[in-house]
Symmetry: C2
């Protein structure tokens, strides 16, 4: 049907202003080799990418929807731009790969095509440079809410990717970072009126950092038998890793790298225990951390440092042959840990 006043062109022009096809990307030294691999980017029917010899392609995609994954009146647009790419790139990190290029599918209301779009694209560009992942194409359309879908193409040496299904009984179970930090940030943000302030406690929720260097190091050193990223919360994600590998796990609650409870003027001394329990619940079920969960054979455990690139690595338990997932806490009987992390289909 004939349509009047087309403005799709102007949306694409804005994307291309922030992500120029060749100029800026070629001028950025980190991206020069990537641009050479990307023989055709935005503007044709599809993108063309030259694979690196000896590598497999890693392919992943993620929704990022207004109302489900972010709130327009709470999350700054540059955080939406950063986080939508960071989440998808985290899946590449979890395979031990390097991100190469990405596709952006964007549905927008007209009210978001001005300063919101500019802020979004700035955050996305900052993430793209940070993760060395170039924009290769996408699709745009109009909707009354903001919908984003990101596809990332990455690479890893053939046969060396970190999968979920190779953990064995006896392997030690590790996590990077502190667990529940992003969920704690979300709780803070919910209490705050209006757009997120620049609290450092919100950083992990607004600008998560996929553990790319750690994933690649685990591949290079052949240390991990299985790995995945923690996106929905430890209790949910660990049960997926165990199901894929046909094993169980035993988690030591005392070993979990908890976040510090939020300071509360109303919290009396006798409530310390409830603050500790709150931190434990965040660590077990809090989503959006994008830390790595990985398993290491016991005889290689001495080669795992206590931190990597400033991020703590913590042994939180072990893989078991029985298919149960148990949580062990001092002075309590081991209890079954049920998946209770983020699930959009609650």
């Amino acid at each position: 049907m004939p349509r009047r006043h087309p403005t799709e062109g102007s949306l694409l022009a804005e994307v291309e202003r922030i992500f120029p096809r060749k100029v800026v990307q070629k001028n950025s030294p980190a991206n020069r080799s990537l641009v050479n691999q990307l023989s055709l980017g935005i503007g044709d029917d599809a993108a063309l990418f030259r694979p690196t010899r000896g590598c497999e392609a890693i392919l992943t995609c993620d929704w990022f929807l207004e109302g489900t994954h972010f709130l327009r009146h709470k999350h700054p647009p540059d955080s939406v731009g950063w986080k939508c790419l960071a989440r998808a790139v985290s899946d590449i990190a979890a395979m031990g790969g390097k991100p190469r290029c990405f596709l952006l599918s964007l549905a927008l209301p007209e009210s978001a095509t001005g300063s919101w779009l500019r802020g979004f694209l700035e955050g996305l560009r900052r993430a793209a440079r940070n993760f060395e992942c170039v924009l290769a194409g996408g699709d745009t359309t109009k909707r009354n809410q903001i919908f984003i879908n990101i596809t990332v193409l990455g690479e890893v040496q053939s046969g060396r990717a970190l999968r979920r299904d190779d953990a064995s009984a006896g392997d030690l179970l590790y996590v990077s970072g502190h667990l529940g930090e992003a969920e704690q940030g979300l709780h803070l943000l919910r209490k705050h009126r209006g757009v997120a302030p620049r609290y450092s406690r919100l950083r992990k929720h607004l600008y998560p950092e996929p553990r790319l260097a750690l994933g690649q190091w685990l591949v290079t050193k052949r240390l991990a038998t299985a790995a995945m990223d923690l996106s929905d919360g430890l209790s949910s994600d660990l049960s997926r890793l165990c199901a894929a590998s046909g094993v169980g796990a035993r988690i030591n609650a005392q070993k979990l790298p908890l976040v510090n409870p939020l300071p509360s003027p109303h919290r009396a001394r006798q409530k310390t225990k409830s603050a500790e329990n709150e931190a434990l619940q965040l660590a077990l079920h809090g989503g959006d951390d994008y830390e790595l969960l990985f398993t290491v054979p016991r005889n290689k455990a001495s080669r795992v440092p206590t931190s990597f690139g400033g991020v703590p690595l913590t042994a939180i338990g072990e893989i078991t042959a029985t298919r149960k997932i148990l949580l062990v806490a001092n002075g309590h009987k081991p209890a079954t840990l049920k998946p209770a992390g983020w699930d959009p289909f609650r």
Copy 2:
């Protein structure tokens, strides 16, 4: 946050029932080599794909949103499943490539998780088998409307992809099939109450066929200088091809492969002219045909057959050095053809 009653698992189970990870796909001979290339499919953080030596990867994605691209009360669910993949695969056809695997991002209301989902997945599976493109992964979430995003990974011999930016003045301009057929189907569907009936006139709108064999043949024979698929309508898409190549075009209205007008009991003989004009407008601006638009140097034109695999190939005009796009009709002065096809940002 802890969530009760998770049902995401049951949605994934339904997808895996229709698209079993290994069994069905390995049993289908056409897909056996693809499954070997897809070393890791649904169920991990990401999919792993082994590129064919000497090939480039083609990467494309497409929105398919309820209310924008389809209507739940009009379009049968298996048509939604077929068409969302066909549209994305059409971009691979337009590059002259072979589709290999795809990612499905699906957001669904609970009301659509029963028979709608089964019908959708059946149509999607039929398309996937037809196009020899295996499901490699994706993302699912819950929304109050149905949102789909499809990513397709294809392959083409390095340096041989059909791009949009290599058409030269003097090249002849070709289209496959009849133009406006899908839009005519949409008009019929709009007039019809309830879900689409099984009219053959609706086939092209509900179950479009990407021109994969034609695109691959054009690559093998090195006939086309530029190509793209017609998704938004000739007037809009031709202007994109011309802009990318820095050229113009002259279209001969008499040469356009029109659709037959719909029989109308109310249409008197004197209205024949308006029926013809309707068919012309459909051919110029109708969207969703997924035919190929391609350019061939004049000295190779004799090697283009009048049909390919039962689909007519028609020379509709030529590429010119001036950047204008002109429509020439018998007895009229050449007129500028403005882009007036489908644009979500009307």
